[in-house]
Symmetry: C2
Subunit: 411 residues, 2 copies
């Protein structure tokens, strides 16, 4: 068994935390921003220092590769992203990049023999915070998203700017022939923070990820009548916000009857006209529900479609925004991760991913899996996101050994 | 008794509806916009045609005055506004201006003798839709608002534009000495649509307005914890939106126990970060409550201050945004309106105003009152706003006779 170096790992965590430092312990590092380019420059510098070859593709995805001992073999890739949400933390995404770098640095430093070329990779624009959608480049590379549509994506801060402009301005825009593909790549691993409280609560340092949860995302709307807040007696009102509040409570009551490991969320609510002196005439809210089993997701859909047609004198409506089936990771790769953690004596458990990741798209192309490390208090996408250097290094060590198992057992 | 002319009134309604016509039966006519200037030009043209003198003050308020038979007497003014909300209707505000014009036109056409000068007036920026706040110019003229602060008000559409710039660009910006003041003005009348369903339901053509309701406006906030929608088990969540939904239901239950003529509204809700994949960490909603009696408003405040400190594991907070006492209109002017409607044989009833109006600020300076006409289906601040030409003319006729009573009985 091989182990990564905690001191070297901590140095990377400290260094990358500076790129986009927002001043309160976290970062804002939108994809292809100057801050993200600083992170890419650092990645390139460190990877060149160990003799890796740097390539980039047409979506500015970056690949740093150490050659293997046998010629003609496909690459094994470890990948994640270096962009963050607004006021995000120092781990979501970048940990998987730093972990991949740490694996290559350990291989180089300890001259660990390996047959296949091994690659550390940065996916462009996983968060989609500035240029939606999320997982943009893995979507394009795996054929899930139309490239022309993605290039036209407008900046949420300045609609005159498109993703194509940001890409054209990047020194890391390369050639389409360099894209990750099943022709050149054998398997992909992604190290990531859990983004939830399960590992910490169970006192486990590694999550052996088996799947990305299936989900459905609906929009629920209530339609009332806009009238003046001061002049319309209560009995005459059709208040779309009051109707939506009742509907939210109703949905919680119904959904709480389903299995306890279902998660569902209303994260977004829009109220029209949203003026304090006007009774709302239209309210629109999101509902996102996730579970491994399709039959549980189907029960959620039944509840959503079964809401009362009218509530508080307001008409209701539900519409599917999108849905996805549970994506199961490659059984062999999952077993390499489990074996590696066990052999290293690192506490671990099987876990699923409630969040989407680039790995989920890649799993349609080639054997893919993920490794989770704990998130302190379960927080992510926020500045207090934290995983200790020891836990980060444990994640990298597990990935190193799992990659070496793939290297020796797969062709 | 004198009566106004329905044909002439309808011509005004049809003409003014063109200025800012938004294409679906209503208008968007922000204060001091090109569309609002078209309305002002038409006002000036028609008032000059009957021999009225046009003056404007430093807030671009416009005054068209017919002289009286006795010299040295103060003016009686009839005033409202010509600006609208976004996608507003053809009656809110402009009816009071058209009614004032119609009164002067009737006086001129029928050579009705009157002792005092009588003025038709346009208040600038009553809605505050482009440059907040509402009732801006009456606020400045009556000393309720600081003029420098109002001049600095930024356009909600383009923050590089201030109200001062719009005012400087207006040909109707005049001199501060022309402002409405108790030194030069004896009394003010404002004809307005009811903006509610009460008169229509009671089959009355005139509302004799006695007061503008007292109100309180609070912000209610719930604070939770932002976490990932896919990775946070339900039992770990602090969902600020779920807490706010529960709080809204709680407030409805409590407030519905108070007198039936209380009106209360949550028109605005803001959710942070308002992303469908993130559990909301902060939700902020408005609550606006109005009632004539201070003791009922005080009960509302008790309920707001008495909300649970914690709900659904989220901390709650309430903060006063503003409040105002009930403003009673002048008893003599109210009686002139009532007498006039009765003598004309027009069905009428006493009513209060749940909405704020320029008249409410002016009532601190001089005897003031309002006259309401019905709003079809109670709708206002929307394109389907409607009052028939007959009802509009009835409103003008009542104002004409009430003004003449003030002219003969007041000095």
């Amino acid at each position: 068994m091989f182990e990564c170096d905690e001191k070297r790992m901590k140095d990377k965590i400290d260094t990358f935390s500076k790129f986009g430092d927002a001043g309160h312990g976290g970062i804002t590092r939108y994809s292809l921003s100057p801050e993200a380019h600083q992170a890419r420059d650092e990645f390139a510098k460190r990877m060149k220092a160990i003799g890796a070859t740097i390539e980039t593709d047409d979506m500015a995805n970056m690949y740093a590769t150490l050659p293997g001992t046998e010629s003609g073999l496909k690459r094994i890739v470890m990948a994640s992203h270096c962009d963050s949400v607004k006021n995000g933390g120092n781990y979501d995404g970048i940990l998987g990049v730093m972990g991949a770098m740490e694996v290559l640095e350990t291989i180089a430093a300890s001259k660990i023999p390996h047959r296949h070329p091994i690659t550390a990779m940065i996916w462009t624009n996983e968060e989609g915070s500035l240029y939606p959608p999320a997982m943009m480049s893995s979507g394009v590379v795996t054929g899930k998203f139309d490239k022309a549509k993605m290039l036209a994506s407008k900046s949420v801060l300045d609609p005159s700017q498109t993703f194509a402009m940001a890409l054209d301005a990047s020194p890391y825009k390369g050639s389409e022939k360099n894209r990750l593909s099943p022709k050149d790549y054998l398997a992909m691993f992604e190290l990531h923070i859990e983004q939830g409280p399960i590992l910490e609560a169970a006192k486990k340092d590694i999550g052996v990820v088996t799947c990305v949860l299936g989900m459905c995302n609906y929009r629920v709307r209530t339609y009332g009548q806009a009238d003046h807040a001061g002049t319309t007696p209560m009995s005459y009102r059709k208040d779309a916000l009051f109707a939506s509040a009742q509907l939210l409570i109703h949905l919680h009551e119904q959904l709480d009857k389903l299995p306890k490991d279902l998660v569902y969320t209303t994260g977004e609510i829009k109220c029209h006209p949203c003026v304090h002196t006007v009774i709302p005439d239209e309210v629109d809210f999101s509902i996102d529900a996730r579970h491994e089993k399709p039959e549980v997701v189907a029960q959620v859909v039944d509840i959503l479609k079964g809401i009362p047609k009218e509530i508080a004198k307001c008409r209701t409506e539900t519409a599917l925004a999108w849905e996805r089936d549970t994506v199961y990771f490659d059984k062999n790769l999952v077993s390499y991760v489990k074996e590696s953690a066990d052999e290293l004596g690192i506490s671990n458990q099987y876990i699923n991913s409630g969040a989407g990741h680039d790995a989920q798209f890649v799993s349609y192309l080639m054997p893919t899996t993920m490794i989770f490390v704990p998130s302190k208090d379960g927080h992510s996408h926020c500045e207090i996101e934290y995983t200790s250097p020891k836990q980060c290094t444990a994640g990298a060590s597990v990935m190193l050994n799992a990659v070496l198992k793939a290297d020796s057992r797969m062709n």
